[in-house]
Amino acid sequence: MQPRFFAFFPLLAGLAAAAGCGDDATLPAGCDQFVAPSDDDDTAVQEMFLALEDGQTGCLGAGTFRFTRELTLSADGVTIRGTSQDDTVLDFSAQDVGGSGIKISGDGVTIRDLTVQDTPGDGITAGSVQDITYEALTVRWTAMYDTDNGAYGVYPVKAEGVVIRGVTVVGARDAGIYVGQSRNILVEDSVAHDNVAGIEIENSFDAVVRNNEAFDNTGGLLIFNLPTLETKNGERTLAYGNDIHDNNVDNWGEPGTAVAEVPRGTGILVLSADANELRDNRIYDNDSFGIILSSYIILDPAKNFETADPQFDAYAEANYVHDNVLDGNGANPDDLPDQLVPNLRPIPALGWDGCEHPDHDNTTGMYTNCFENNTDGTGAPASFLFVDVCGTPPFANQNTDFGPYECSRPPIEDPNP
């Protein structure tokens, strides 16, 4: 595609030129195209996105851009860059067309150094792409805990090769940093607060989640597998070096969504997912659970999932939880944990629902969830709870003995240490 649209739009060419666009002499360093805020940002920015040739960098100047429509980006290998997260703000508060603020369909895209705010839907979506990088950017909603906020801040779905680095998401009414049905993922040095879920890795394979901070969400870090999705039974999330604390905001999720079921006060929740490794995280002052591993049965006690999606593995097994520091969790649980664990306060910091896949033969221990070397703030062993959701009758054998689960598993190697 030739960047010759100015020839088609003499009026816009004038407008864009006033903004310094397309004029090589005034292009900032490293930019192949440039637009500054104008009185028709919808057109000017979308024109630039459409005119970018594969491999080019499109720059957005300092100031606030205002959009009423979704922006789409389909070129491959391009970089979209603002001046900085503080200086370049893309405001979608008047948007009434499109499900995302920015919808990326090109491969190998990097988006960085800008803020996207107040999208009615998702912030920055990248669907069915190879290699997407979100870097040094913010997605935020300025209204607190408002179900009119969009669902996901950064939203790669069905992507292969995801990097989320130095990203901040505030105010998402589902998951702030969300990665769904994707493979080969790195989420690092990012911050999520005041979302329902801070960081969520869903139905995905081979994610590394490291050195992030999640606080003031309903749940800090969720590693989920859900039924009836195309990409099923995700595995192998490695989470380390994360600070997950004070995730005690009442759940304000949209009723009917899975995230709306997450108890207030959840540090890390592994739902239905297998073969994950959680190590060297600091998890404190979450009022319900520090780290809880659970089957999908907690959401669907009638096990409708068995008919809805026969291939779905609903059980959280073969996870490895070690060397975490957990302190001050479980002191003031939400209703569901309060019912599940009526007698122990604080609720122990580590937990497993106790449900095992009926078709899995665990005589070798290959499906056992292992807990090892987790400590509380004083260096003493962290407390543990076998919740016994699947006991006959349920909860009959609820106990705090983690002896049977004190074991280790082969560590997951971080491909980019």
Binding site: E47, E230, T257
Partner: protein, 359 residues
């Protein structure tokens, strides 16, 4: 963007000489600046009177587009022919252009009366590229339409069914957004020029009546004879006399299946609204299917379709919504389609159930 359309007939002859780009008569390469540069129409442009070789057609189950009417044309390159397929993969030579005009009745009490044309969309078969989408927006005077890549938002004034002055917004998609519907497995596809969509009897694109598929064949579109049309698949007119289920399936095919099918933009949601299979797995149509987590807009309802209970079905909730985050179809349609919603409601109400209940 190298291919230049070589439209049959004399209209284009002028365009085929001189390639310098400096001659004022030479519109350059496709996409041309102006719709008139293509020479699709003779006489005043807004009459949409097709030039020789420009073949009008209709589909039995059109896409709802916020009250817009459509006028569709197929333009084959000189001497070019299409190869027929009994399902949906007709193949066309490079240089083929499909033209779809969007217009609004000026007075909604007078359907088919005076209309204002707002947009003309093209899919151009380009050598080495496949189908490439372009769109043109008409001027106020209805004398010309101009190439428009970035999309637009137009205000349409009209007289409503009660005779009052009214206004609505109309969204022109940007050319990336065309592919949110037209692309499947990363390739841009035709959606309406498919056997079951044109194998119908009734009012045809040229204003006569008959079978649209046979009429296309008569116009010399295909490179060989057709099988007997009664042996070929056909979709129902969603608002015609056929049984409810067939009409609802046809409606969902035309309005939803381009995204909701394997390889489509919404494949991750796990639905398949194509109407080719008369007896699909119920969950493919959303029956007792729990919504995917990726979809926030559930309205607190549990399943996409609850047999016998349209008011408990997410599908209905999303078709009725005007919230851009929730509404289906996603883009760029803004106004819920009352008749379409009523049809889908009736279909759901009549499904055997009741309910999805657990044990």
């Amino acid at each position: 963007m190298t291919a230049r359309a070589q439209v049959a007939g004399g209209v284009f002859a002028a365009l085929l000489t001189g390639c310098s780009g400096s001659s004022p008569a030479d519109p350059g390469e496709i996409p041309y600046d102006r719709l008139s540069d293509y020479g699709f129409f003779v006489g005043p442009l807004s009459d949409l009177e097709p030039a020789q070789g420009v073949v009008p057609y209709r589909v039995v189950s059109p896409l709802w587009a916020d009250f817009a009417g459509k006028a569709r044309f197929l333009v084959l390159p000189e001497g070019g022919r299409a190869t027929f397929d009994a399902a949906e993969t007709w193949s066309f030579p490079s240089g083929t252009i499909v033209v779809k005009n969007f217009f609004f009745d000026v007075d909604r009490r007078d359907e088919g009366g005076k209309a204002r044309i707002v947009e003309t969309r093209l899919l151009v078969r380009e050598a080495g590229e496949g189908w490439v989408p372009y769109t043109y927006v008409w001027d106020e005077d209805q004398t010309e339409a101009y190439f428009h890549a970035a999309g637009d938002r137009l205000t349409i004034a009209y007289i409503d069914a009660q005779g009052n002055d009214a206004e609505q917004e109309y969204i022109v998609p940007n050319t990336d957004e065309c592919d949110s519907c037209h692309a499947r497995d990363d390739r841009t596809r035709l959606l309406g020029l498919a056997t079951p969509q044109v194998n119908f009897e009734g009012l045809l694109g040229d204003g006569t009546t008959g079978n649209q598929l046979e009429r296309l064949a008569d116009a010399g579109v295909f490179d060989g004879p057709l099988p007997p049309v009664q042996d070929l698949p056909r979709f129902s007119d969603p608002f015609g006399p056929d049984p409810l289920e067939a009409r609802a399936r046809s409606y969902l095919h035309a309005n939803c299946s381009h995204c909701h099918r394997p390889g489509g933009d919404a494949a991750q949601a796990g639905l398949d609204f194509t109407a080719f299979d008369p007896d699909p797995l119920p969950a493919k149509l959303g029956v007792c299917k729990e919504p995917a987590a990726a979809g926030p807009g559930t309205g607190g309802r549990e399943y996409d379709v609850v047999p016998g209970a349209p008011d408990e079905s997410i599908l209905v909730y999303r078709m009725e919504s005007t919230d851009p985050e929730i509404r289906m179809p996603e883009l760029p349609i803004r106004i819920p389609h009352a008749e379409g919603v009523a049809l889908v409601r009736a279909w759901i109400a009549g499904l055997d159930g009741p309910g999805c209940g657990g044990p």
